[in-house]
């Protein structure tokens, strides 16, 4: 068995893992990246469309170009990495067991660990579409891999269920290949991906976006022959008489992403309702010295935001090693942060009372779109101590708030902070953002 002892082990080498590794290495600490695929870069490698890098590099890049910049940096800094290596066990005392075909079983003892495993796609089974089980049904990301990486086409005529970003981007990609995309069918009355993708991938190519509908039956015993779609009412029940058949040989599913936290659970860290680990304002999970960033923590809109979050995780891991590692400094005094009205989830889940004077980054998503709203932070007594107006909120756009709680006059002894998104109170003079 091969043994590694390292300051920081990073699980995953996508937009998060690479950015975190560079951050740690630059501070002079030892770092090891563990990647289960055959090359560095993660899922961004198959995202060959543009739109990456505007925040991070101030220019527009494709996915592979974006991650290549990080990969070049990793190589320049001579950061060690293991490819084709799967972590199979993760323990509370920060030992990782992994396997690959060159070294066999590998034991990695780290001082700190950064989780950067990303997310996976929801499947047909998860949404329980009835009907036959033919070939020709793919998650959008799987089709993306076949087309962009392997160089194969899954089919000729497509229906896409769900208007997630990957689904909309694949719709356009398939048009470029001479395929026909008959419709993108979305159960909600609004697109679930970014507006820019709705415009640039669907509207520009005259691909119909059918809102408020879902696929109710799969047809075809061998290869897919078509799908039935039907209108869905506000209780998510099918509206009788609205069912219609669309002929297609391929169905792509773009019905949501789930942070991939099997390892996190195995180590005994707690997860929150969004599927990501419970973290404090330093992105530290409920296990001391284990941090999470990127889509394993929460599904982001853009890889740029993933990298930014991962840098914070890297800095915090450095801080942990320099100040708390090996010492009996436990995080006890924490304030719970809970999602309130029209908030799907909020990160972090916990704020260390010792960090009240620092600027804290909160990230959240709403449950449903709204206009002219006010973001309100309250403590457990119901006292509002922070407000911010927003012109609109939609689930596809993550909201980021940088707040100094002390300056906002939070009660320093409060136990809980709740964030609500409320209709804006009527005022004479509007301060819009």
């Amino acid at each position: 068995m091969k043994n590694y002892e390292i300051d920081v082990a990073i699980v995953g080498s996508g937009g998060a893992g690479l950015a975190a590794a560079i951050e740690v290495k630059k501070a002079g600490l030892g770092v090891l990246i563990i990647e289960r695929d055959r090359e560095l870069g993660g899922i961004t490698l198959q995202c060959i469309h543009n739109g990456f890098g505007l925040h991070e590099f101030g220019e527009e890049l494709t996915g592979p170009e974006y991650v290549q910049r990080f990969i070049n940096e990793v190589k320049k800094l001579e950061i060690p990495y293991l490819l084709d290596t799967m972590v199979i066990e993760f323990t509370r005392d920060k030992v990782l067991y992994a396997v690959n075909n060159k070294e066999g079983l590998i034991k990695i003892q780290a001082k700190a660990i950064i989780l950067a495993m990303g997310c996976r796609e929801r499947t047909r089974g998860a949404i329980n579409i009835p009907g036959f089980r033919p070939s020709g049904i793919y998650t959008a990301g799987q089709a993306q891999r076949f087309v962009n990486v392997e160089g194969y086409l899954p089919g000729k005529t497509y229906v896409i269920l769900g208007s997630g970003d990957i689904g909309m981007i694949m719709a356009r990609r398939l048009i470029f290949e001479g395929c026909q995309v008959k419709a993108v069918v979305e159960i909600n009355p609004y697109a679930s991906g970014l507006i820019r993708n709705q415009v640039q991938c669907l509207e520009d190519y005259n691909i119909p976006l059918i809102l408020g509908y879902t696929v109710t039956k799969i047809h075809g015993r061998d290869r897919l022959q078509g799908v039935s779609i039907a209108k869905i009412d506000t209780n998510f029940d099918r509206v009788i008489g609205t069912e219609r058949f669309i002929e297609c040989d391929t169905l792509l599913l773009s019905v949501g992403l789930i942070p991939e936290n099997e390892l996190t659970l195995q180590a005994g860290a707690s997860l929150s309702k969004n599927g990501g680990p419970v973290v404090d304002n330093n992105l530290e999970t409920t296990i001391d010295g284990v941090f999470a960033s990127g889509n394993v923590l929460q599904v982001h809109d853009l890889v740029d935001m993933v990298s930014a979050e991962a840098k914070r995780a890297g800095q915090n891991a450095i801080e942990y090693i320099n100040t708390r590692h090996g010492k009996d400094v436990k995080r006890r005094n924490q304030i719970n942060v809970v999602p309130g009205e029209n908030v799907n989830y909020i990160k972090p889940d916990l704020v260390n009372r010792s960090d009240l004077s620092k600027e804290i980054i909160f990230t959240l998503r709403v449950k449903f779109p709204d206009r002219r709203v006010q973001i309100q932070l309250k403590d457990e007594t119901g006292r509002t101590f922070y407000t911010k107006n927003k012109v609109y909120v939609i689930p596809s756009e993550m909201i980021e708030l940088k707040i100094n709680l002390e300056k906002s006059n939070v009660n320093p002894d409060c136990k809980k902070i709740q964030l609500d998104i409320m209709p804006r109170p009527e005022v004479l003079v509007e301060e819009e953002e």
């Binding site: 396997v99 089974g125 020709g136």
Partner: protein, 491 residues
């Protein structure tokens, strides 16, 4: 070549017969219409080895299932398929159902079902199965009931039969049978012709059709659909097989663990005419969830990973049809619905009796080997073993399926084993890549790649489960290229 015996149908019954007869000095072939064995009723059923108390006394299936249950122990030791006697509960939710349970218990004990016990102590019941509803009045506990992976059982049987000389022909749908005085001529798709002295019909849903090819139409098979939902391993964990109190029609919707740590709910029962209609329906999925929730209220509907349907081959006689027919040398093994999986080894014994009546000389081969090597499984290795295995063969260290931790080596073994996998479903049902929570999202491209390499086929010819179920239609740019070329020609 003239075979001594041809078996039509590669479900668990056909494979059990093949494996049982493979001990004798006979030339045996098995014909299967699908691209792989175990792809019909065997692949989609509850996977329960019943204790044997449930079938009515007037039917042969009662004794065959009681005997069949006992035979599992030895078969499991020889063949190493996933099987465990976890015990079952039949659950009474109302006082008057206790009477039915007591009746089942009494008759079961009389007929030799071991260990049947009526438990009325709610504390004790909930201790044995904490997920049960509070509404329980009592349960009938059958400790010898077990769970089995039915398709892995069929693969194990086929492998062992093949090791002992049985020839398997997949993609060989029987289309015509001719009988002359001493032999049968069997024609299959692909214009293949087989000749045999004896013919065993284990064609499941198609057994009455096969029987009619020889002019015998004394029974009918009606497909009866059952739908299932399977849940993520992390969502719920059961200790016992949970049945409601049975009615005349059905054993009801059960909630049950699988050998791989998942839980499923199902099946309902819907009579059909079409033996290929494996579709699930919104109403059916709702029905089984509601049915399951009567026993286990916290069924995690949101953690479902797959729904599917299977078809039972229901005979109009209601009982198994196992007999020497009026056509000398032709044995029908039809209408094997529940508890057919339980009975498969006993059915094979029965077939031996009929062959003896036909005067077939059954002499045990000197080199018969009843043992099929235990499949090596990554997840079952200790760390030291794992390290050693990877050093011996690096394919153990390359994980293909991330959800179920399946290395390339297990996939290669599934493809290279006797009667090995040739399709993506064949790989999936043998060693589970794609069975987990991501349902193949990450591993399917890799499985297709490995199959293409091993079978020396292009990617486009790799299928889900045989002809017409391809995954990929061609290379990118091909369609555009074709259009351009077409345009140029027109110009």
């Amino acid at each position: 070549m003239l075979y001594d015996i041809i078996i039509i149908g590669g479900g668990v019954v056909g494979c059990a017969i093949a494996r049982h007869l493979s001990r004798f000095n006979l030339k045996i072939a098995l014909l299967e219409k699908e691209a792989d064995i175990a792809m019909g009723t065997t692949k989609a059923n509850s996977g329960v080895v019943h204790a044997g108390y449930a079938a009515e006394r007037e039917y042969i299936k009662r004794n065959l299932s009681i005997r069949g249950n006992k035979l599992y122990t030895q078969a499991w030791e020889e063949l190493h398929f996933p099987f465990q006697r976890i015990g079952s509960f039949v659950i009474a939710l109302e006082d008057q159902e206790i009477k039915d349970l007591e009746d089942l218990r009494k008759k079961g004990i009389q007929d030799g079902v071991p260990g049947l016990e009526l438990i009325l102590d709610k504390e004790k019941i909930r201790h044995m199965e904490p997920n049960l509803t509070n509404e329980i009045v009592g349960v009938l506990h059958a400790p010898t009931a077990g769970i089995v992976s039915p398709y892995e059982l069929a693969f194990a049987l086929a492998e062992n039969a093949a090791m002992n000389g049985v020839q398997f022909f997949r993609n060989h749908e029987v289309i015509k049978i001719k009988h002359t005085e001493y032999e049968f001529t069997v024609n299959t798709v692909g214009r293949n012709e087989f000749k045999t002295r004896n013919l065993i019909n284990a064609a499941g849903l198609y057994s009455s059709q096969i029987s009619r090819m020889l002019g015998l139409d004394y029974f009918d098979i009606m497909p009866r659909k059952g739908e299932y939902i399977i849940f993520d391993r992390n969502a719920i964990h059961l200790n016992k097989i949970l049945f409601p109190t049975p009615t005349k029609v059905s054993k009801g919707i059960l909630v049950c663990p699988t050998m791989h740590g998942n839980t499923f709910v199902g099946p309902n029962a819907q009579n059909l005419n079409d033996p290929e209609d494996l579709s699930t329906s919104e109403a059916g999925l709702k029905e089984i969830l509601e049915g399951g929730r009567r026993l286990v209220p916290n069924l995690p509907a949101r953690s479902s990973i797959r729904n599917f349907a299977g078809l039972r081959a229901v005979p109009n006689t209601q009982d198994f049809i196992i007999d020497n027919t009026d056509v000398y040398g032709f044995i029908n093994v039809g209408g094997i619905l529940s508890p057919g999986l339980t009975s498969c080894f006993a059915i094979a014994e029965k077939v031996q009796e009929f062959l003896e009546l036909l005067g077939v000389v059954l002499k045990v081969k000197e080199n018969y080997n009843p043992h099929r090597p235990k499949p090596e499984i990554f997840k079952e290795f200790s760390k030291e073993e794992l390290d050693q295995k990877i050093k011996e063969d690096p394919a153990w260290g390359r994980i293909i399926c991330r959800c179920e931790y399946i290395p390339e080596k297990e996939i290669l073994n599934a493809i290279r084993s006797p009667v090995g996998a040739t399709t993506v479903d064949g790989v999936k049902f043998r060693c589970r890549p794609g069975m987990g929570r991501c349902q193949g999202g990450f591993c399917r491209p890799r499985v297709i790649e490995i199959l293409a390499r091993e079978l020396k086929l292009p990617y486009e010819q790799i299928t889900k489960r045989g002809e017409d179920t391809t995954y990929l239609i061609g290379r990118t740019k091909d369609m555009i290229q074709n259009e351009i070329e077409k345009g140029e020609k027109e110009e």
